[in-house]
Symmetry: C2
Subunit: 257 residues, 2 copies
Amino acid sequence: MKTVRCSILGFGAIGQGVAEVLLMKKEYLESMGLEVLVVAIVDSKGATVNSEGVDLADCLARKRTKGTVAVEKLTGVDVIKSVDHELVIETTPTNIVTGGAGLQNMFAAFETGKDVITSNKGPLTLKYRELTEAAKAAGSNFRFEATVGGSMPIINLANEVLAGNRLRSIKGILNGTCNYILTRMLEERASYKDILAESMELGIAETDPTYDVDGIDTACKLVILANAIFGLDVTYKDVEVTGITKITPEALEMAYE
Amino acid sequence: MKTVRCSILGFGAIGQGVAEVLLMKKEYLESMGLEVLVVAIVDSKGATVNSEGVDLADCLARKRTKGTVAVEKLTGVDVIKSVDHELVIETTPTNIVTGGAGLQNMFAAFETGKDVITSNKGPLTLKYRELTEAAKAAGSNFRFEATVGGSMPIINLANEVLAGNRLRSIKGILNGTCNYILTRMLEERASYKDILAESMELGIAETDPTYDVDGIDTACKLVILANAIFGLDVTYKDVEVTGITKITPEALEMAYE
């Protein structure tokens, strides 16, 4: 049995989802000869650390009842530097202005020779080249499939399964919220404002839908795909971004025709 | 530069396509540190062999003008046993009753420790388990992505990129000819016979469309997917097969509603 010791940095919806999946797939992973031991979880208030493996079910319960798993005043970088593990699962919130805690966590992980799996678009949108070079210099694996098309792998599909092929372009619906709103606007000839309000009520759009409807999320994904699949060195600033907030049902209909 | 010496067995549309792609991508592959040297090509009349690498452009021209590349009376198995190479590219025609030359070629390749890449569904539909076990025992790579969904990788996507996920089922349009005919029958309320005739004129259906319209091709693909992705041990006989030849436009319309 191979044991991989990991930390989960960020314990919102994604970090908790990782913990749930690890619980759910424990036996399955073991049948493949792999034990994944979570030795630390960090959220915005602090960390819980156990070198023998934290109790994931207990951590999930504490997060839901108390709002945090923190029992020690440690940050992600503290955990990376002081707790023995090989893999950092980075799920802190996306920040496209500074890169946020995620950027610091990733650099610290590579500095200490750790592998990184992340769903955090911010650091990759700002510092793709620096991060991939730091990973390479450290001999670390750096995996970020979860940043674009979570359950429909596109980066590994392009770079591994389709190795040897020359990809010319990428087309796709990169943001589910925009797709949902535009589809309903077209079908119901309804205004952006009305459909957005309904989408938020239904939980399809986020409470603050800015990242989605202003095109920021889509632009981040484009940057990551352009760098990872076409080997470019671009950042968020290189993308011309227009959101969907000013689109009228009439304009949509004309575009559709 | 790593050199891979290979044979192309079968030199119909697919074998010739492989030769064309190798010519087209020569520089690209070399830029990735890979030289692919074709040391033998075999068609139904015999073989052309050159341990320094055959001239692919010349072979393609000879095939088109003379109908064969044969200059020596050698079969695929002869070439596998007598010519020094590491990789067999097996593109002989599918035979689902006996497995055809392809089945013998594959077993001979594994017996001599060679890797196999194939587009030939027949052997995999009849002897999947035996073939994969022979490959494993020989320490050979056995790749058959081209047997199902040629340019849209599904087997490696499922087994490699989605490793760790549990796939529950596979749904899809497995045969382009059937899909084309049924779509046009529905759209034009036309009979199977008329659309089939047109499809053959357009070159969309094969001159002998039996494998496609009788569901044989689809059943073969299902067998390969079931074995490769779900780890089953099934053969063609395990599939209940119904073709599209008796479907009326009315039945199609009812199914669509």
